[in-house]
């Protein structure tokens, strides 16, 4: 099993190194030529994120190890997710608002939670009319991270075509465990913007 993992991981690592070089070259071109290549960089980052998601899915469903939890400042986490996607969403005519004054540390798997939120925001971006909202609150002795849009909402819950993304989101949320409590994922319609609402609750 470890050998299969090593083969996959090495392949992904090498590919991501090359994508990193492509990203750096693109950013350099932007700076030198004064052009906006944000969408090109977004596509490169999305390709890398997709590779990470695939590798993560493989690992999370085959590896019993606990998630690596580190203290993360929640407000910083939201800022970073917004940085990844705000411009891309703006190019699609969508406004992303971030509402979360949880200015303290929470123990979570930072990279995987960023991946979850990126994924949820990208999905919201496909269906939103004008607005998407990313928020963080404290509730039920846990942290609620919520992505809401003003689109038509989910056709069905659970969605008919949830795919790897939804499966991974449920698994990652569940694996956030503290003092016997596991994280939960909830999909609802309505919310603050009237459309779809994805809530990740982490203990």
């Amino acid at each position: 099993m470890q050998k299969k993992w090593d083969i996959l991981a090495v392949g992904v690592h090498d590919t991501k190194n090359q994508l990193f070089q492509a990203e750096a070259m693109t950013a350099d071109l932007e700076r030198r030529l004064g052009v906006d290549l944000g969408e090109v960089r977004y596509v490169i980052e999305s390709a890398a994120a997709s590779l990470s998601r695939t590798l993560n899915a493989y690992r999370l469903f085959t590896d019993e190890r606990a998630l690596p939890l580190t203290p993360v400042v929640v407000a910083d986490l939201l800022d970073e997710v917004a940085l990844d996607l705000r411009q891309h969403l703006a190019r699609a005519g969508l406004t992303l608002t971030v509402d979360g004054a949880v200015d303290e540390q929470w123990l979570l798997d930072r990279e995987r939670v960023i991946m979850l939120l990126d994924n949820a925001l990208q999905n919201a971006g496909r269906y939103a009319r004008q607005e998407i909202r990313l928020s963080a609150t404290l509730a039920d002795d846990g942290l609620c991270l919520r992505v809401e849009d003003d689109g038509p909402g989910f056709d069905s819950i659970p969605p008919a075509h949830g795919g790897v993304g939804l499966m991974l989101a449920e698994r990652i949320t569940h694996l956030h465990e503290r003092q016997g409590r596991h994280g939960r994922l909830a999909l609802t319609n309505g919310g603050a913007l009237g459309g779809a609402c994805v809530t990740f609750w982490l203990p």
Partner: protein
């Protein structure tokens, strides 16, 4: 927003293209100066001589080394100022497991690929954090533990300190340990563990229990950390130290051997392995490992008098007397002149053992001092061994009794018993043990 045009960056990566990519990212942020390092020794040299403001270090450094090993060495030898921001750059998401577990962590890590604005966001946050802790860093440098702890306590109570709670608690526990307040450090680590089962906190707790000589409790805390976190090498070192103090040199050697294989250029660990092997009576391993250390540890000032004495000790253990004499001859005249009593005691004892004609007079000359001054366990063992060979039972028994009455009794017991048995004095040793035990009871 931080002005990066005034910041010096150091990019450490053994791959040219990757270095160029990181340089481009740093320059796009407006970095004032971006320097490169393509190798581990060069990186240490640069940081030691002129520490940069920001280090971007790749996790994989080639030649069997990693950025994590580099970081641990920099922190262990205090070569990296607290104010320098150290970011590990990696394509390996598995590095998160390392960061979540270990005590010596970078300020942050970044998964490739990442955009310049992401690096800038992270650096802004890290700069703010460094500024928050700056008064603490200054107090720490002055070894003003009371002030350092007061600053951390204030920070924990303040709103400004809320985003840095875990760092504050970790710094607090580490400072308490440095200040010799093991019980207070224990309480701090326990408070972290109440919030989350973090491996570094559990290892820290084990360390505080070890300091308080609560060895069984220390062992019960460190064993699961080592089992669950194979990349947490410092935890393995701690377990080995606890095992040695528990009188289990075989387990100490086994653990150290396992991690030393994965960190072949960590010569601090190799020295620990040699010590465990020597206490375990495995002089062949002790000898081989110390030879490797002396031949390969190229850090300036790394090979010490103690290393040469350890080498000679293991050679004597293997009956390679000529080699031991040659090793002792490596000590320079200035080194010999500046030997403190413990090292002088070891030197003369070992010299007598491998070269009786040269060493006998010196050893005899030191005898009065050897019967009075307190010595560390390792020097006592050397003196005891030489005294037994010489037939000086008074000197040998004096040191054996001191060893058996001291905190390191369990650690050295197998070795001392073997030395007495080799001289057909096993019964005498049992009597000495009994006397030491009675003295402890009456104390």
């Amino acid at each position: 927003m931080v002005d990066y045009t005034k910041k010096r960056f150091l990019v450490i990566d053994d791959q040219k293209l990757a270095r160029e990519a990181l340089r481009t990212v740093a320059q796009n942020m407006g970095a004032f100066l971006v320097e490169f390092s393509s190798s581990y020794p060069d990186a240490i040299h640069r940081i030691r001589n002129n520490a940069p403001d920001v280090v971007l270090c790749d996790y994989i450094l080639g030649d069997g080394r990693s950025g994590q090993q580099l970081l641990e060495e920099l922190r262990r030898f205090n070569l990296l100022p607290d104010e320098t921001i150290f970011i590990m750059v990696t394509g390996e998401q598995s590095y998160e497991q390392v960061v979540a577990a270990v005590e010596l962590v970078p300020d942050d890590y970044l998964i490739k690929p990442f955009a310049p604005d992401k690096l800038m966001l992270r650096l802004d946050r890290l700069t703010a954090r460094k500024e928050f802790f700056q008064p603490f860093y200054a107090a720490k440098r002055r070894n003003d533990h009371a002030r350092a702890l007061a600053l951390l306590a204030d920070g924990l109570k303040s709103d400004a300190g809320r985003p840095y709670r875990f760092e504050s608690l970790r710094y607090m526990a580490e400072t308490q340990l440095r200040a010799g307040q093991a019980a207070a450090a224990e309480a701090t680590y326990r408070s972290v563990l109440e919030m989350a089962a973090l491996p570094w906190a559990r290892a820290g707790l084990a360390r505080t229990l070890h300091r308080q000589q609560r060895l069984d409790e220390a062992r019960s805390e460190i064993d699961p950390v080592v089992a669950a976190q194979p990349d947490f090498f410092d935890a393995a070192d701690l377990k080995a130290a606890i095992c040695l103090d528990q009188g289990e040199p075989e387990e100490a050697q086994r653990v150290l051997d396992m991690v030393a294989r994965r960190t072949p250029r960590n010569y601090v660990r190799k020295r620990l392995l040699a010590e465990a092997a020597a206490l375990n009576g495995d002089m062949k391993t002790a000898n081989a490992v110390m030879q490797e250390v002396l031949a390969n540890d190229s850090m300036p000032g790394a090979v010490t008098v103690q290393d040469k004495l350890a080498m000679a000790r293991s050679q004597i253990g293997e009956n390679h007397m000529l080699d031991a004499a040659r090793t002792l001859a490596l000590l320079t005249e200035p080194e010999l002149q500046h030997l403190a009593l413990p090292e002088r005691a070891s030197y003369t004892a070992l010299l007598y053992l491998c070269s009786p004609s040269k060493g006998k007079t010196r050893f005899a000359g030191l005898r009065p001092a050897l019967l009075e001054a307190p010595l560390p366990a390792i020097a006592r063992c050397d003196v005891l061994r030489a005294a037994l060979v010489l037939g000086d039972n008074e000197l040998a028994d004096y040191h054996a009794k001191s060893l058996m009455a001291g905190e390191e009794a369990k650690r050295v017991f197998p070795l001392v018993r073997a030395l007495y048995s080799a001289r057909q004095r096993a019964d005498d040793f049992r009597d000495l043990q009994r006397q030491a035990a009675l003295a402890r009871i009456h104390h």
